[in-house]
Symmetry: C2
Subunit: 176 residues, 2 copies
């Protein structure tokens, strides 16, 4: 049992509170838990949800070592989690004078979060789907006439789904 996990401990104020004394409060635990659930829903690692959740609860930007200590996660996890969060635009780096460490603050605008997630995780799938559609159409040429009509219908229907998703995403980005 190397370190108490914020998910499982009871947040008593004197629980070996990590190097910088960044004990996690009970309401924060609850927020973090919420983001861990959300992370699982959208298919990103738990640690990413934890990190974002922690930052969301803090008024000031935190450096990576505070995050590691508060959540009891490794340097590697923290680094990769922050990388993911930066990639989707869910955190930004803040420079603090007189401190070499990068500090991180969360993006608080839902629209930005959704937008970043869509560009990074959804759009690529839609694009590769478009490629596959073209490929399918080329394969249709070689089909016997009777089965071909049916296959054409289905692939056309797939195409219309693709189109709908393509129009919906930009709307979603603005709607939130």
């Amino acid at each position: 049992m190397p370190k108490a996990s914020p998910q499982s401990n009871n947040a008593s104020p004197t629980d070996e509170p990590a190097s910088q004394n960044e004990a996690v409060q009970e309401w924060e635990l609850s927020v973090i838990e919420t983001f861990v659930h959300a992370a699982q829903l959208i298919g990103v690692p738990k640690s990413v949800g934890q990190i974002y959740g922690l930052l969301y609860c803090r008024e000031n930007p935190l450096p990576m070592d505070h995050i590691m200590d508060a959540l009891g996660i490794s340097k590697g996890s923290a680094s990769m989690g922050l990388k993911t969060l930066r990639q989707i635009g869910a955190v930004k780096t803040v420079f603090v004078i007189g401190d070499r460490r990068d500090h991180y603050s969360p993006e608080l605008r839902l629209r930005k979060l959704v937008s970043g997630f869509i560009s990074d995780q959804v759009q690529p799938h839609l694009d590769s789907g478009g490629e596959r559609l073209k490929h399918m159409e080329s394969l249709l040429e070689e089909l016997p006439g009777d089965r071909r009509k049916f296959a054409e219908q289905r692939i056309q229907s797939l195409g219309s789904w693709h189109g709908k998703m393509t129009t919906i995403l930009p709307i979603l980005r603005k709607l939130l």
Copy 2:
């Protein structure tokens, strides 16, 4: 190597085509692959995507054993995959006269698919999130005054996200 998987074989027409001779054609492979990707995006098992993809390509409802043979998956996987698909309303059971087996046909309307997925996989998360929000509000009472104001702000913001998602989902269900 028990059976050739539709994902990895080259679909040559005489590849040990399964008991009922339900060889999977090349365009079908491509469609199935598309649904497997989609499945991964929305966080359901690969086999679920495979099964739906196969049904999507066939004009007539298929019984479970055809599905197993065509995809080279086990009875257990097929049964559980179909269960999931029924649950989200992505397939329906069709009774064929003179055949004891259940046959399955795919739901083809995007709106129904999205709607079923949302009710089954997203709504529960939103609901439990609502619960956690209430819990957080109760925890706030016990906070020292200075930190409390900030915590209240954040939790209120979380609440507004929750509200936005709650209003967006029904819109999405209709928009597609």
